[in-house]
């Protein structure tokens, strides 16, 4: 049960909603409120108990000894994870995956406050909750055993997780990526796919240029039904078509006035505006035929 860094961050952002409640609690005096705070902390009390046992397993935690003292501060975390992991860590010393996991809090400001947290529960709760509220920018990271816990490597690990998640998304898009495993192969596949797509565009444009001089009369004569026939039946794009390079002499195109100003909100165009748009393009086509074409989808 390893919440990744990103999941943890999202969870924390959701939990930011909780902090106003604590402000109310701490704002008013009275022991009842303190008890309420303790009830919130009730889960963490168990954790504190378990933390006191940790030093017994000294040699196992040498590598990350320093972080034990850091971890025992107040946190609003899902209890199941913590209790479960701690129980396993206490009893078995190893998780089934072969690594014990410890929590480490990566603070943006000084970490000295948590050192004092081992001493008192309620004291700790007050200071910690106030400090929690005032500095809400914690990134709760789960450090694995044997891994470095300094800030840089944590940031590095977070970044790598982000990249691998995005590569998984890419994997769904690029066909044929599922067979190859590993980052290197997948990336090679993706690069080849992009190259092949660009080459297809080039080949198709060459083909279009061959057909081109006939295109002018065709565009004028084409009716809506023929356009529908063109664009509804989409065949799968083949890989690398052979081009019959029948280059005749074509008229030279002067500087085409490609309009570079980007129209925003083209996606939001309604059918009526599309009609007017197409009217400019195809003068000989009637309005209703074009609207038939565009009302297909």
């Amino acid at each position: 049960m390893d919440l990744s860094v990103l999941d943890r961050l999202k969870w924390l952002q959701q939990q930011q909603m909780v902090s106003p409640e604590f402000l109310q609690i701490l704002g008013s005096d009275g022991r009842e409120e303190l008890k309420r705070v303790e009830s919130y902390l009730g889960n963490n009390n168990d954790e504190l108990q378990s933390f006191r046992h940790f030093p017994e397993f000294g040699p196992d935690y040498d590598a990350t000894d320093g972080c034990i003292s850091r971890t025992s501060s107040f946190q609003m975390e899902p209890v199941k994870n913590n209790g479960h992991n701690r129980a396993i860590a206490l009893h078995n010393k190893r998780k089934p995956e072969g690594k014990t996991e410890k929590r480490e809090k990566k603070k943006i400001k000084a970490e000295d406050e948590t050192e004092s947290s081992m001493k008192g529960k309620t004291n700790m709760s007050n200071t910690e909750t106030s400090s929690e509220i005032q500095k809400p920018d914690y990134i709760h990271v789960r450090a694995r055993r044997g891994e470095a816990t300094d800030r840089h490597s944590l940031a590095e690990r977070a970044r790598r997780e982000k990249i691998s998640k995005k590569m998984k998304c890419l994997q769904d898009i690029v066909p044929g990526c599922n067979k190859v495993t590993g980052k290197a192969g997948m990336l090679d596949e993706i690069i080849n796919y992009v190259q092949s797509l660009q080459q297809q565009v080039e080949f198709l444009s060459m083909k279009l240029s061959v057909i081109n001089p006939e295109l002018e009369c065709h565009i004028d004569d084409l009716s809506a039904k023929q356009f529908q026939a063109y664009f509804t039946g989409l065949p799968e794009a083949d890989s690398k078509q052979s081009i019959m390079a029948d280059f005749r002499s074509f008229p030279l195109h002067q500087q085409g006035s490609i309009d570079y100003s980007v129209m925003n909100g083209t996606k939001d165009q309604t059918s009526s505006s599309w009609e007017t748009h197409s009217q400019c393009l195809y003068n000989s086509l009637r309005t209703d035929s074009v609207s038939n074409f565009f009302s297909l989808k």
Partner: protein, 161 residues
């Protein structure tokens, strides 16, 4: 063709949008150029290819994608024209080129090599961080495949005559 990616927003408009933009650019090409002077076929091909890319960038990305902006800027520069981008939200973006970053030497050199090659392929990739590059690549691939389909349909339809 909308995708269900939670991380990346790779929604791409329908093929009608692409078709409309491409046909528009093609007809622009034709109306601007009379059938008088002899031409080299290579120039013609190049024009069409450029029109295809520009129309794809306009149809799919608009201003909201880095690759489309870079593509349009590059195309406009070739023709010595200026591009106008409307800015809705001005976000301060720091261009972090990967070479200038302080390397922690833990940047998974395999990934970074491939990212370099991708940066050469995807327009506008030079100023992007690797994670952003992945997002842009995904959207770019979707748009490219859509454009290829549209062009294929057009070629097939016209060659039947």
């Amino acid at each position: 063709m909308a995708s269900a990616d939670k991380l990346i927003n790779t929604d791409v408009p329908e093929k009608d949008v692409f078709a409309l933009h491409f046909l528009q650019s093609l007809s622009n090409l034709k109306t601007q150029n009379p059938l008088n002077s002899p031409a080299k076929s290579i120039d013609r091909v190049r024009k069409i290819k450029k029109a295809a890319y520009v129309s794809m960038a306009r149809a799919a990305g608009g201003t909201s994608r880095l690759w489309s902006r870079a593509l349009l800027r590059r195309a406009a520069k070739d023709d010595n024209k200026s591009v106008r981008f409307s800015r809705r939200k001005r976000k301060v973006t720091w261009k972090i080129s990967s070479k200038r970053r302080k390397s922690n030497n833990q940047r998974a050199p395999v990934v970074e090599e491939a990212a370099e090659r991708l940066r050469n392929l995807v327009p506008g990739g030079g100023g992007m961080e690797t994670s952003k590059l992945m997002e842009e690549t995904a959207h770019y691939i979707k748009c490219l495949s859509m454009q290829v389909k549209v062009m294929q349909c057009l070629v097939d339809g016209l060659s039947q005559k």
